[in-house]
């Protein structure tokens, strides 16, 4: 390929070599930045600037509708770490809810889609159909999924309990609510991770499987020593993205449980939204989002470190 291209270039260049003025310079010092510019503008305009502005907001007692927005320095942050303040109890309670959800949903969202991807990777009649079927729920909006599961999971008049013949409190009592929220999230988003895995599986060279078979590896050994190492970069991506997505869970508990029982399933993002957009206390809400964002950044860095170190060893 590259040889052909170079040959073509020399051929084109040969006739007008002396008059090289009108030719586009391919290695100008600004060129890469010019290519980056359009996205950079979007990034700065819609991510970086708002993020910086958000930090500025978090240093004020901010309500965008009130004329006075007193500067409070780091008081919003300090309040979050002061037991007994207006928000600290509720905020950390909501962080705990987010933590519980993440801890239970992430392993399932790593394992189940992997199993599905392995099955969908094999060739059998109707494979494309099943690939579409498993991805289908992901296309639905959370509002649709939420309303759907409210009818399925209602403790007294829901479809599921009607089949089971027993009133499990799927939407109103712990630990059942967590089973529901994790279960519906796995059902809903499994397809996305499965597609990423599937792409990863297709990248693993068939020769490796062939060689291992020749060496007498069992199916399990193949999975353990060929498939998993081959998927490591994909796994790291899936893990990071899944943790972040789970930690940002909002719609499911907002729609299906409304935070019940009490505020047990009110997640961090739900509490931030309630504080910032419901009560118009954007200063505290911005501080809370920054605390959440920093924690998630730390977790992500940890992920990458851990998985990379294993790759070295």
């Amino acid at each position: 390929m590259s040889v052909d291209a170079r040959a073509a270039r020399t051929r084109v260049r040969a006739p007008d070599a002396p008059a090289s003025r009108g030719r586009i310079r391919r290695a100008g010092p600004v060129t890469p930045y010019l290519f980056l510019l359009p996205y950079l503008m979007l990034f700065v305009g819609f991510v970086l600037a708002p993020a910086v502005f958000g930090f500025w907001i978090s240093l004020h007692d901010y309500n965008y509708l009130l004329p006075g927005k007193p500067w409070v320095g780091f008081a919003n942050y300090l309040d979050l770490f002061t037991p007994g303040s207006r928000d600290s109890g509720d905020f950390w309670h909501s962080m705990l809810a987010t933590g519980i959800f993440t801890v239970f949903s992430v392993p399932l969202l790593l394992a189940c889609p992997l199993g599905v991807a392995l099955l969908l990777h094999r060739s059998f009649p109707g494979r494309t159909f099943f690939r579409a079927v498993f991805f289908a729920p992901y296309v639905l909006g959370v509002a649709v999924v939420g309303v759907l599961f409210r009818f399925v999971l209602d403790p007294n008049i829901g479809l599921l309990n009607s089949y089971l013949g027993h009133s499990f409190p799927w939407t109103t009592d712990v630990p059942w609510v967590w089973v529901s929220l994790v279960g519906m999230t796995v059902w809903w988003t499994l397809g996305f991770n499965a597609v990423i895995y599937l792409a990863g599986l297709q990248e693993i060279p068939a020769e490796l499987y062939e060689a291992s078979r020749v060496d007498g590896a069992s199916r399990w050994q193949q999975f353990r020593h060929v498939t998993l190492p081959g998927l490591r970069p994909v796994l790291m991506f899936v893990l990071t993205v899944t943790i972040l997505a789970s930690a940002n869970m909002f719609g499911q508990s907002f729609l299906v449980t409304k935070g019940a029982p009490g505020t047990a399933t009110r997640t961090a993002v739900m509490y931030i939204a309630q504080t910032g957009l419901g009560s118009n206390r954007q200063g505290v809400a911005a501080a809370m989002s920054y605390v959440l964002a920093l924690i998630l950044m730390a977790v992500s860095v940890l992920n990458v470190r851990l998985l990379q170190r294993r790759e070295v060893s």
Binding site: F46, V47, L48, A49, P50, A51, V52, F53, G54, I57, D61, Y62, Y64, L65, L66, P67, R86, G141, V142, R150, L153, D154, P155, N156, I157, S167, P169, T172, D173, V241, L244, A245, A247, N248, F250, G251, F254, L255, K258, G259, A260, P261, G262, A264, V269, I272, A273, G276, L277, G278, S279, N280, A285, A286, S289, Y290, L292, A293, M297, S300
Partner: protein, 446 residues
């Protein structure tokens, strides 16, 4: 549910940057409008008694997503036909969305000309300069306090100025499934109105294996049921100056204990889900439901079961019924268009005069003379709600009061789901709410 369920646009899976960046940018955009504009009441001609200006189009935002939306549409069609020089464009949002969109729109100069909101939303929006005073409209309409229940009238006042023109009262009432009552050997024309009758009816139903009074743990409508009971037992949600929450009084504990006992003693199933109490009423599984007037048109469409409506039963010693009121407000405009502002006032004037048509959307007219009129008496399903208006307590008109009430609804939720004892749930919620009230009074300078 008449659009009374708050539902914000849900967030789906996003990266963490979207979290910090997204919320940040929403605020940045919202803040773009600047806040330097002083609140300006557009010049209002004769307060909307007549409109003589050129042809204008005005926009009207509200949260009438239920059968009330259809009635509002019908009335606006009538208005547009009768008033060739004013065209009203109506936008309907979920109430919760309305209170996020409206302030941002007003701030950026894109707010509507007229809006409707609840009694207890107005002080918050007035303090945030989202709405402007309309004393002139009240004067042009010749409205005075004696035309309304005092709470409906005074609720529209903030710092001595009038911000709301009352449209309706919507309160809680007793819905009962006549068909199931008859099957269980109860007289379907005599819904229970006292505590003894209520418990006797529930015992009779229990004997037939029916759990007759499902208790919802959610604001709609378990929270409203608790507030009604609290007033019936002689308590109140806040002290008289709204400086602290008082729902953890003896009356509150009695009220919540009575609700929780319905669950504990098998008159209600455990773990009632959102709206399940009402859906079960329509399915014939539940018999008595403390429900809002806004469902009257919905139950009237049922084929299998006949649902009746009655006044709330008196469980405590006093009359006590939760209620609220829709009122017209004028959003702040950054540019003053005298014609639009006159037209908006004329529209409010016209709508208020035709409020008896509005009652067909299942509401009690706010004006006493309309509520006592033969036209309203002819709407039989609404009659009991009208009779209960004398007992209605409204949420207090204090900025940011919704934040405090959220704590109450969370506390009721914990208790009805049997996660906390009623007294403990109420006092924990009350101390959090009291802190919020103090915060708010500092913030809004009350």
């Amino acid at each position: 549910m008449s659009g009374n369920h708050p539902s914000r646009s849900p967030m789906s899976r996003r990266g963490f940057l979207a979290l910090s960046g997204g919320i940040g940018s929403a605020m940045a955009l919202a803040a773009c409008g600047g806040t330097k504009t002083p609140p300006s009441a557009p010049a209002g001609g004769n307060g909307g008694a007549t409109y003589t200006g050129p042809k204008v189009t005005i926009s009207f935002w509200n949260g009438f997503t239920g059968s009330d939306g259809a009635t509002a549409k019908k009335m606006i069609d009538q208005f547009n036909a009768a008033t060739p020089n004013i065209h009203v464009d109506m936008n309907v949002y979920q109430w919760a969305d309305l209170f996020q969109k409206l302030p941002a729109a007003v701030q950026s100069g894109n707010g509507p000309d007229v809006a409707a909101m609840h009694l207890d939303d107005m002080p918050t929006q007035a303090a945030q300069q989202v709405i402007v005073p309309l004393d002139d409209v009240a004067a042009a309409l010749g409205l005075k306090e004696s035309d309304f229940s005092p709470a409906v009238w005074q609720g529209g006042l903030y710092k001595g100025k009038r911000y709301g023109i009352p449209i309706d009262v919507h309160n809680l009432g007793l819905y009962y499934n006549k068909t199931v009552m008859q099957q269980a050997g109860l007289d379907p024309d005599k819904p229970p109105q006292t505590k003894d009758d209520y418990m006797a009816a529930l015992d009779a139903l229990k004997g037939k294996g029916i759990q007759g009074s499902w208790v919802s743990p959610f604001q709609f409508t378990g929270g409203f049921m608790f507030e009604s009971l609290l007033w019936q037992f002689g308590g109140d949600i806040f002290d008289s100056g709204v400086t602290k929450a008082t729902w953890d009084s003896d009356a509150g504990v009695q009220a919540l204990t009575w609700m929780v006992d319905l669950v504990k003693n098998g008159y209600s199933p455990h773990n009632v889900g959102q709206d399940a109490d009402y859906i079960a009423l329509k399915n014939g599984k539940n018999v008595f439901n403390w429900q809002g007037i806004w469902q009257v048109n919905d139950v009237s469409t049922l084929k299998t079961f006949e649902i009746g409506t009655a006044q709330l039963p008196k469980i405590g010693g006093n009359g006590g019924v939760w209620g609220n009121s829709h009122q017209f407000v004028l959003p702040r405009k950054t540019s003053t268009d005298a014609n639009k502002s006159d037209a908006s006032r004329y529209f409010i004037n016209w709508f208020t005069k035709n409020a008896i048509t509005w009652a067909q959307s299942a509401k009690v007219p706010a004006r006493k003379d309309l509520a006592d009129s033969p036209e309203f008496a002819a709407m039989t399903a609404l009659k009991s709600f009208g009779e209960d208006v004398q007992y209605v307590h409204f949420p207090p008109s204090v900025p940011g009061i919704d934040d405090a009430l959220t704590e109450l609804y969370n506390g009721v939720n914990s208790a009805v789901l049997l996660k906390q004892e009623p007294a403990a749930a109420l006092s924990a919620a009350a101390s959090r709410a009291s802190k919020i009230i103090q915060d708010n009074s500092k913030k809004y300078g009350a």
